[in-house]
């Protein structure tokens, strides 16, 4: 008997409850059930990072997490990064550095970079590149993305407005 499972979770600070099939990934549940389409499917096998969300404080490829595994957990998606009506410094820095072209990898990068800067407020260029290696970008060559993360780090440390 194919019964869906009820999942209780917290998404972007709010309780979120949904019904899903066990075979549906967290990515599918976020996009197709909760309507949060910011996380993207690029490969569905954990290699591109376009689906990155924060799960209990850690960046994960949501394509490799099942929706049912989110039971009782806390999730942050790109839709939860801005602070109300104000952009997060990472979002602002990505815009100012022109660190996006097609923009499809951008949500994944911003979410992953947010986790990085919360754990390490002043990462070196090498560390930024290493941390973000699970996020693929085909448009930018990463140069401006790295600069955006560096700018955001400065903004968060109060060194830059």
């Amino acid at each position: 008997m194919q019964t869906k499972v009820r999942v209780h979770t917290t998404v972007n600070g709010e309780p979120a409850e949904f019904l899903c099939e066990p075979r549906q990934s967290l990515l599918e549940c976020l996009r197709d059930i909760l309507g949060l389409t910011g996380a993207k499917e690029g490969c569905n096998d954990g290699n591109c990072g376009a689906c990155t969300v924060i799960l209990d404080g850690r960046p994960v490829n949501s394509c490799l997490v099942l929706g049912v595994e989110a039971e009782g957990r806390t999730i942050l998606t790109i839709e939860g990064v801005a602070r109300g009506n104000t952009l997060h410094p990472l979002q602002q820095a990505f815009l100012e550095q022109a660190a996006l072209q097609c923009g499809v990898c951008t949500p994944g990068f911003i979410v992953a970079a947010k986790a990085l800067l919360e754990a390490e407020p002043d990462p070196s260029e090498a560390r930024i590149r290493q941390y973000l290696a699970n996020n693929l970008c085909r448009c930018t060559g990463y140069d401006k993305i790295v600069r955006a993360v560096q700018q955001a780090a400065r903004m968060l440390q109060g060194v830059e407005a």
Partner: protein, 749 residues
């Protein structure tokens, strides 16, 4: 050089669609949500070449949750004809055949059938229940194999076009052309140094992160609505109409935001399939390609075999150049060998040239454009030979190129003479860049350079502008925005109107709402759609000048306009102030323009690369990379830099690691981002850029398209750097670690 005193052009405003993209609100093709939406899945051929004997879809149709199943039999009958879509003309039967195989499958991954169901999991399960009987056929995977006498024929009725005329001969060669300039035999006889080499490149993919997608709704009134991530909504409209034998007025194509294209999202794959499933099920249908299908079922770029021979005199002048180029077009013709041939020697003024080009069918996916299609492979060959020639002559590689550089008036082998172009300026910028003379110390390190060219295209664009009472302007255009063109187009309108960039609000709209606009590709968008915006803005200015004249009761022709202010004698009124008074002077103002500009300017690009090669493993590390390109006029320098860095990154991946690894059965073994290795953040250094601005005389702001030429030099620049680092000349792409190690060891013996 280009004007530097613009107010808006040349600045770096934040793109108007930026906030939506950094917050996840922007809607890409896969984000479409509609009531009653079904999801689809495409069944694909497991064989590289086979006859389809029988398809039985009954088990699939019986699976609970399945709402429609289609095969090629569901395609409405359509007379074959030649249609022109995007970047070339093709028989309709080829396009229909690629969308759903008819009679034969021509490559592993060729679409055979499709299912629409309540979700993608059920659709996939159902597709796996479709029974297809195949009769496998012999197949060919490389150009040279396919060109041999007696090779299995991919398209059985394809007759070779020789030198522009049908030859009546049936073969896998769709076309053979030969372009000549002067007399190569004579030229080589004069040459004192000659280098002749063979090069091979394998199939590579554009690698956009967003898979192809399409949502279609075939309405009860016979109208078909399509939402997809595409480089050209009008191509979608026209293709779907042609494939489904509908008048174009029955099809509306909405371009969603697009997650990368690079030429691979011009052709339709899923749109007609989704439309047919929608008609059969009565519901909207969305199909998103799984990543493996993107590799196996869309349009990568041709693998190639290229032979180049170049001869020079001891004084450094190249006197003759010859190229023999066979490109794998895949299952259908159109392998971009002609554009490769246009670019192969394009950077040089050579009096005697002969180029033979062959467009060859093989049992691989039908190739599509990939950023300067055909030119990268050609430059890998030619720029490696140029490097060898320079070495034999004892000349600096840039000086050798300068000695022979193409200039205004130089004639290319394919016929055109250059107008003002920036080849010399790009070379000089490379030579004067600190990178070129920076010390590179340490063993196993080397520096290489190369240049490349892309001719860019013009094609048609349309634009309308409406003036708002607060002095802002709404801009409507039809060019999908892959890299920030929405902004650069708006900036050109703002420059003309004398208002801030942020006061022009661009909208990319569907085919019902804007005049015909050709694809976002060919490096044409900032150039041509920007020009349409420029002309539409001029139209607005003319109309508003007339309004000012009415206010002042003077003749319209006597009102001047400069930097946002209308003047007549002592009187003046700003654009903003006048906008508030349109109602009282006659009503709303809308400007419009359609353009099909001829003044396209090609773009030269150059690359300087420093590498370190581990002599024990063959692994190459890119230590430093500089990209130089002539943009004519950089409307938004930040986005021009982005194009240069992105093209460089793709060129580096192409050079070092990317390839279709084919099994003996003609299947791609590495159809995932795990083993199709595009560069990660850890594989690239910062990429320095130098924008050269040699104004294109054919454009109001001097713009040259910049999207493409930057991918052309990197593989050759890296090959030349690897030579200096490891002492080996690599003549195959990719120059992966095992290949380099093998070359190093072979050399030691």
């Amino acid at each position: 050089m280009s004007r530097q005193d613009y107010t808006v052009v040349g600045t770096r405003p934040i793109r108007p669609d930026g906030v939506d993209k950094v917050t996840g609100r922007a809607l890409y093709g896969a984000d479409v949500r509609l009531a009653g939406l079904l999801e689809g899945y495409v069944l694909r051929s497991p064989h590289a070449h086979a006859r389809i004997l029988r398809i039985d879809t009954s088990k699939a149709e019986a699976l609970p949750g399945v709402k429609a199943v289609i095969t090629a039999a569901d395609l409405p009958p359509a007379e074959d004809r030649i249609i022109d879509l995007g970047e070339g003309a093709m028989p309709l039967s080829y396009i229909r055949g690629n969308v759903l195989a008819q009679g034969k499958v021509l490559y592993k991954g060729h679409a055979v059938a499709a299912v629409a169901a309540v979700n993608a999991h059920v659709a996939q399960e159902a597709a796996e229940l479709i029974e297809v009987d195949y009769e496998p056929l012999p197949f060919v995977l490389t150009a040279r194999e396919a060109m041999q006498e007696g090779a299995p024929l991919v398209l059985e009725d394809l007759k070779t076009k020789e030198f522009g005329k049908p030859s009546g001969k049936v073969s896998n060669v769709a076309e053979h052309f030969r372009w000549t300039l002067g007399d190569v035999e004579q030229g080589f006889a004069e040459a004192e140094v000659i280098v002749e080499r063979e090069y091979h490149t394998t199939t590579v993919h554009q690698g956009y992160i967003e898979p192809q997608n399409a949502t279609a709704f075939w309405n009860q009134d016979g109208r078909v609505e399509i939402w997809s991530s595409t480089q050209g909504a009008f191509v979608v409209r026209d293709s779907v109409a042609a494939v489904l034998n509908l008048p174009v007025s029955k099809v509306r194509a909405t371009p969603m935001e697009i997650g990368g294209g690079f030429g691979g999202k011009i052709r339709v794959y899923l749109e007609p399939v989704a439309a047919l499933l929608s008609r059969k099920s009565g519901r909207p249908v969305k199909i998103v390609m799984p990543r493996r299908d993107v590799f196996e079922g869309t349009g990568p770029t041709p693998g190639t075999y290229i032979r180049v021979k170049m001869g020079a005199r001891k004084d450094g002048r190249i006197v003759a150049a010859e190229a023999w180029m066979a490109y794998e077009a895949g299952a259908y013709p159109g392998g971009m060998v002609a554009s490769g041939a246009m670019c192969i020697f394009a950077a040089y003024d050579i009096p005697n040239v002969a180029i033979d080009g062959f467009d060859v069918q093989v049992n691989k996916p039908s190739t599509s454009a990939y950023r300067a299609p055909g030119a990268t492979q050609a430059a890998f060959a030619a720029e490696s030979v140029v490097d060898e020639l320079a070495g034999k002559l004892g000349m600096d590689p840039i000086d050798f190129r300068l000695r022979n550089a193409a200039r205004e008036g130089t004639r290319r082998a394919d016929g055109p003479k250059y107008r003002r172009i920036g080849c010399v300026e790009v070379l000089e910028a490379m030579k004067n860049h600190p990178h070129y003379t920076a010390p590179l110390e340490g063993p196993n390190r080397g520096r290489g350079v190369a240049v490349g060219f892309w001719f860019n295209v013009g094609l048609s664009s349309s634009c309308t502008l409406s003036v708002n009472p607060d002095g802002t302007v709404n801009l409507v255009e039809g060019s999908t925005d892959i890299g920030g063109t929405r902004a650069s187009i708006a900036m050109q309108a703002a420059e003309v109107l004398g208002i801030a960039a942020g006061d022009v609000r661009p909208n990319v709209v569907d085919t019902d709402l804007v005049g015909y606009t050709a694809v976002t590709g060919g490096s044409r968008t900032t150039f041509a759609t920007g020009w349409a915006a420029y002309e539409a803005a001029q139209d607005v200015v003319r109309q508003m000048a007339a309004r000012a004249a009415r206010l002042w009761d003077v003749e319209a022709g006597q009102v001047t306009f400069e930097r946002g202010v209308f003047r007549h004698g002592e009187r003046s009124i700003s654009f903003k102030e006048l906008a508030a008074r349109l109602d009282e002077t006659g009503g709303p103002v809308m400007g419009r323009a359609t353009v099909n500009p001829r003044g396209v300017g090609g773009s030269f690009a150059g690359a300087i690369a420093d590498v370190e090669v581990d002599p024990e493993t063959g692994k190459t590390t890119v230590l430093r990379f500089t990209s130089v390109q002539d943009a004519g006029k950089a409307v938004h320098p930040g986005y021009v830099e982005g194009q240069m860095q992105g093209g460089s990154a793709q060129g580096i991946g192409w050079a070092l690691n990317e390839e279709y690894f084919m099994s003996p059965e003609g299947a791609m073994l590495n159809a995932s981002f795990l083993d199709y290795r595009i560069p990660t953040t850890l594989d690239l250094p910062m990429i320095d850029t130098v924008i050269v601005e040699v104004a294109n005389p054919g454009h109001p702001f001097g713009v040259r398209g910049v999207g493409e030429a930057n991918i052309v030099p990197p593989p050759a620049a890296l090959a030349n750097a690897i030579y200096r680092a490891a002492g080996v000349r690599m003549r195959r792409l990719p120059m992966k670690p095992s290949a380099i190690l093998e070359a190093i060891r072979a050399q030691r013996e």
